[in-house]
Amino acid sequence: MSLAKPAMRGLLGKRLRFHLPIAFALSVVAAAAFKYGVTEPRKQAYADFYKQYDATKEFNNMREAGIFESVRPTGK
């Protein structure tokens, strides 16, 4: 039987040529997925929260609940 001579050289180059584009593409996909799955919704949530935020009202609510030590609830 006469088998073909196996590849003796260029093994690393062949592996890199195959795997590097895939690795690059998958990294880009992972970054894009994180950006549009996590960071964009988070930024939107913060924007929506502060659109309707009344700091004084929230402060007074917290004061009435009695969590502050510097200002007691009104009526004490």
């Binding site: 988070r42 949530a45 913060y46 929260f49 929230e58 609510n61 917290m62 609940a65 009695g66």
Partner: protein
């Protein structure tokens, strides 16, 4: 270890010594025939020479075994014993739980966290409906 050893190993194809060291007369005559041209050897003789030199072929070395069943079984037995030990420990070793673990304390804690508006945008207090006083 300092003597030449025979080892069936996948990564060492040619061990230090052949499988059969002590050859009887038929083996000796076969070895003599091996010194001549190999085309004169029949198929059975070639296989016999192989078996003199090696114990297992590569497929025989790679044959699957039933060892995994023993491993998994032993693993589960150890899990069971560990479970019993943990159960005994929970009963006899652990001190009483801190008072902060009680139902009332936990409820007061949650109420205080909501009052303080912990994580009001994406986290804890964001899940609470302050108007209707219930979880969203």
């Amino acid at each position: 270890m300092s003597q030449p050893m025979y080892l069936d190993r996948l990564d060492t194809p040619l061990p230090d010594r052949p499988w059969k060291d002590v050859l009887d007369s038929t083996d000796k005559s076969l070895k003599q025939k091996e010194k001549g041209p190999w085309t004169a050897l029949s198929k059975e003789e070639k296989i016999a020479l192989y078996r003199l030199k090696f114990n297992h072929t590569y497929p025989e070395m790679k044959r699957p075994s039933h060892e995994w069943k023993t491993v998994i079984g032993g693993m589960f037995i150890v899990f069971g014993i560990t479970g019993l030990v943990v159960f005994w420990q929970c009963h006899y070793v652990y001190p009483p739980q801190p008072h902060t673990f009680g139902e009332e304390w936990q409820a007061k804690q949650i109420q205080r966290m909501l009052d303080m508006r912990i994580n009001p945008i994406t986290g804890f207090s964001a899940q609470w409906d302050y108007k209707n006083k219930q979880w969203k």
